[in-house]
Symmetry: C2
Subunit: 684 residues, 2 copies
């Protein structure tokens, strides 16, 4: 049990330079080791007094019972004295692994929820670098730093009273960040591992395949899930891409030639389109619907398998300490029996229902109003221009667009703040729940912003040629802009505005390497990346029957997207913390909702297509009869989709069996536990 950790290849060189002697001491005998791996870098503000730094370091190394994090600290020893390097002793790593509910390989080869008491039966337990991934070790350090609490009302030394005052049970880290003492907390890169990963990932010659396990090991759960999804999604794009190409190049083109028709008087049907285009149109719409359903169901299965593989299928966040921002009345948690702040669920639901939902609704209303205003003023201005034809009115023509863009941006910025505030007010206990509600709010708004115009064109203007034009320009412009901002700009920055780290040589002091890592910009999170995929998926599943080239274009985009995202993550930003997660979280839901809306959208687009209109007119059906039929078809398709979703199990059989095994064993254990402990008491 008291094993010494063996030297690891992937270890940073800090240990060589500074030696274990400068690290804080550990009391636990099993945690003494010659090799301490620096995991996390805390950057302080430059004007922080030594006494404050000393206090922070003492808190970080203090035991959990004293409100500390029970970690190892190193003063960094640079000139400015504004760094703290944090490492984790073995016991802390193992204890938190258990708290998080992470699963690890048991001696029988199954993934099993880690238990500290039963630690000797887990594989690789003697080697923390193999037992936990780098990302997990770093997340554990962050988790422990986050959970530092003031045990009583006290003052932070060296900070004046109002800012430096800590109330009992307040989060120390949050306070320090608010007071501006801590600038930044970053997990440290391991340059050797990073180099190896990069080689495998984005400088690799082959077009296909990402080293997902290595990504998970190095960058952690959320990021690995993003890349796994991107991978799967790109693969899934092949069938629609092939169909799209086939329809575009081998079938008679389905161009929407009867463009400028008005709503009130239907124009005469034009006969320049051949019959097959209706069927190709319908094939595309029905395929789109089925594809999006099957894709999401298969991804769920893949996601469940990954979650088992990565040991995150049994996370028990609700039994952990609440997240730092959570507040409530201090009381005994009825479930775990621990003393902690509690906040009743009904109050949260009430706040969501009475405050958040209406406020979000108002903002969505403002988006719609903005759009309506835009159309109104555009019509007004173009009317003036037609009437006068002067230069002044020609300039005025741009005004509505500019005003609309400004309005949208300002609204978006205000909304982002409001969404964060609202979610804070909802006072979620778990970090995942907070993220869920926050992301949902931003998501709904972003989605509305992106698709409101397209829906308006499709279903109110009923102008399919315009929709087609808009869609193709959106896809091509977005693609070009993305490629430029994501490939060219980073490449140039990397090449010419060489980052500080590049100039350092291997034998430069470790401190400078650390300093250099802290100097990169913070990783902006995966929100923008997911949104990009979601909007893409939206174009594809909602409107692709209008523009069959959507899928091939997206496929092309994604193949490069994978490399550029990887490059960005490895080279251009600080390494982010990444929590172990069991799925994509709220994004899963977002994609599913979208694939649900796609059924309706495809159905109505089909109805609007000139070919179908022609067909129904030839058949002598009144427009209201056609609508009734469309409604029935839509409802039937939704039913088919739901049946399909139920029929494809959400997890592969082998994962289900593993999950049931764990359920069964824990049920058995619960029944036997009391007896055993009684026996033990008796025997002792």
């Amino acid at each position: 049990m008291m094993s010494q950790e063996e030297p690891q290849e992937g270890l940073s060189t800090l240990t060589k330079v500074t030696g274990p002697s400068s690290w804080s001491r550990v009391s636990c005998p099993c945690c003494i080791s010659n090799h301490i791996e620096p995991l996390v870098l805390i950057q302080l503000a430059e004007n922080v007094q030594p006494i404050t730094k000393q206090w922070i370091m003492s808190m970080i190394s203090a035991p959990v019972k004293a409100g500390g994090a029970q970690l190892l600290v190193h003063p960094g020893e640079d000139m400015k004295g504004d760094m703290i390097v944090v490492a984790a002793p073995r016991c802390t790593l193992l204890r938190v692994t258990e708290d998080l509910g992470l699963c690890k390989t048991y001696q029988d080869g199954n993934m099993t929820a880690f238990s500290f008491e039963d630690r000797d039966n887990f594989c690789n337990i003697d080697n923390m670098q193999q037992f936990l991934t780098l990302a997990e070790r770093q997340y554990i350090v962050k988790h422990e730093l986050d959970s530092m609490r003031a045990m009583e009302d006290q003052r932070i030394p060296g900070i004046p009273a109002p800012k430096g005052k800590l109330k009992a049970r307040e989060s120390i880290l949050q306070k320090l960040e608010k007071a501006g003492v801590i600038r930044n907390i970053t997990p440290l890169h391991d340059q050797k591992l990073l180099l190896a990963l990069g080689k495998q990932w984005y400088t690799h010659k082959s077009l296909w395949g990402q080293p997902l396990d290595s990504i998970h090991t190095y960058f952690g759960g959320t990021i690995a899930y993003y890349f796994s999804f991107l991978d799967f999604y790109t693969l899934a794009l092949f069938p629609p891409a092939i169909l799209g190409l086939f329809i575009t190049f081998f079938l008679p083109s389905a161009n929407f030639s009867n463009g400028n028709k008005t709503d009130s008087e239907p124009t005469l049907p034009k006969h320049d389109d051949e019959q097959p285009s209706v069927s190709s149109y319908m094939v595309q719409a029905v395929f789109s619907m089925l594809w999006s359903t099957v894709f999401m169901e298969l991804w769920k299965r893949r996601s469940a398998a990954l979650s088992y593989h990565w040991g995150t299928f049994n996370l028990a966040e609700q039994f952990q300490e609440p997240r730092p921002g959570f507040h409530g009345e201090l009381s005994t948690n009825p479930v775990t029996g621990r003393l902690e702040p509690l906040f009743p669920e009904w109050k949260r639901r009430l706040r969501i229902g009475v405050v958040s939902v209406p406020v979000v609704g108002v903002f969505l209303g403002l988006v719609v109003m903005g759009m309506a205003g835009f159309y109104f003023f555009e019509r007004l201005v173009s009317g003036w221009h037609k009437a006068s034809e002067s230069y002044f009115t020609a300039v005025l023509l741009y005004l509505p667009s500019i005003a609309h863009i400004l309005y949208t941006n300002v609204l978006g910025n205000i909304y982002r703040n409001v969404a964060l505030q609202l979610t804070e007010v909802e006072n979620h206990r778990e970090a995942s729940s907070f993220d869920y509600h926050h992301t949902t709010k931003v998501l709904v708004f972003t989605f509305f912003n992106n698709f409101a115009v397209l829906f308006h064109i499709a279903f109110f203007k009923e102008d399919l040629p315009l929709l087609r034009k808009r869609l193709s320009s959106l896809l091509i412009v977005t693609q070009v802009v993305n490629q430029f901002t994501e490939v060219v700009v980073p490449f140039l920055v990397d090449r010419f505005l060489t980052s500080a780290d590049r100039n350092l040589k291997e034998d430069d002091p470790e401190v400078d390497h650390l300093q250099a890592q802290g100097s990169l910009p913070a990783f902006p999170g995966l929100f923008a990346e997911y949104i990009e995929l979601l909007v893409q998926f939206g174009y594809l599943s909602l409107f692709s029957c209008v523009y069959p080239l959507t899928a091939p274009l997206l496929l092309l985009n994604n193949l490069t997207e994978i490399r550029t995202d990887a490059y960005k993550l490895c080279k251009l930003f600080n390494k982010p913390f990444s929590a172990p997660v069991a799925n994509m979280g709220v994004w899963q839901l977002a994609f599913e909702v979208l694939s649900f809306i796609s059924v309706m959208s495809n159905c109505w687009l089909l109805l609007l297509s000139p070919q179908v209109k022609e067909l129904t007119e030839d058949a002598g059906l009144s427009s209201s009869k056609v609508l009734v039929i469309a409604v029935i078809v839509e409802h039937v398709l939704i039913m088919v989709k739901m049946i399909l979703a139920v029929m494809i199990p959400d997890e592969p059989d082998w994962v289900r069996i593993k999950r049931e095994q764990i359920e069964y064993h824990s049920m058995q254990a619960l029944k036997k536990q009391v007896t055993l402990s009684t026996n033990v008491n008796f025997l002792m």
Copy 2:
């Protein structure tokens, strides 16, 4: 631990007459008791040889390891020798309680999954009559009888070879029933308890309140859930009933006077209805939608609370032995590690998807074809009658109706058999899963049969006056017929064709009492009762805006329904076995689906109402615009419904906390278990 059971008031008198001496012996010392409670009566065919009876009795009392049921048997000692009375020893009761995952009151007052090893910490453990309800004890006996298996290929003594041949692991009970040896297995009534329950339940003077806990104790889970739901539903009917009465009598009537309009040419709007009727119409439709959602959500909460209260919230059916009809390859269950037949899940899903769904679809198609045929021939015949006006054609007028009724009945009978066969082929492992799939199949068909005509009238003929007439006649006729068949007939039967039991006096031999119990007809199950409620609920939520008196009529019906159902159950049928269950099972889903469809139905009915048509025509909207608006309104309403459903938590907070407590404890137990057992081994 070795406590003697105290004499119980509610005990049957069999023990007095026959004495404990005639019962089979128990080996376990803690199970020896002076009072053995007869629980279940097995009736054999009259020509069964004594050697067969002897063999059956020996198997029932044999230990589980030998394929027996480890129960107590009594030969019944009647003249014909065709009865076996079964009781259960304490150990068997407790063991099966653990296997079923029943929760019982722990010493700390919480409901906890019963653990045999930890039995001494549960309340009432010394008194089986208090620890387990009568229904539970009887269900346990049935469960054990069902799980009797042949340990090897053998012959049942006294039965000729083909029928009497048992294969290894074949269910003995199923074989005996198939071979006609066992006529009937009935749980025994406890006349004193029954009398007390009946007094509380249906002869009580007050209109409200059912003794739900006593019903649960006496009749068991499924039946108690039915009556709880009936109770809750009847209570929930008050708001719509009051609204319906208010609309009918206090608001200007919304009679649909423009009856015979044709579809193609809309008639001129008639102005004999006042303006408010539109709003009353809309109020009714929107209220109906909200009501059905809130009702179902609140019922879920109530259901969760009941499930905790009755100790069934932790049932673990998937870890039990498979149901008797299940077959598969004998192999080790990967979850529990027991040797049992296994059948892969994908094969089952394949059979459902490839066989069951299409076959059910064909039958639904036949229903629709039948309806279409009926309408076609009716029009044909009435055309002939108009042309010739002869007596012959007047008689012919009835022919389509008669043919349709015959067709529907024959189809229904065939379908019932097919549904059972299909579900057998699907080879479900758990009884609940079998019931689920079987009920769903029958349900879909029954629903189609009941509502297809109404939907046809509402949405194809668009003839609201006819819908209204049909609905009111259905409601009133069904009510009268129900009251007659459910109250009057049973009352008459009970009074004049006095059942055998009535004529017996207290001091008649116990055997005659038993004989009398076996002579009643078998309880037909709750399917018909639930279907009745579901169809009612359908009338109410789907079409009530057309006929506002629906709710008051249903309320009246339900108030009597409660009493008549109770009377029927207590007096007119054999006591049924009733499994402990955690909810209404498939019926929950059925009601929810119906309340979902009700949103669409109400929305479209609103659109069809002459008042709304008038309004939109006045506003100058084209009919296709109106349809588009309706589609949007429908989708928004569905979204509102879904948000509402998500917002109302499915279980009360206190149940959630209890559930999480159990999850937490079993998680903790799992982690500690291995260490403890290691320690125990070490200490020993």
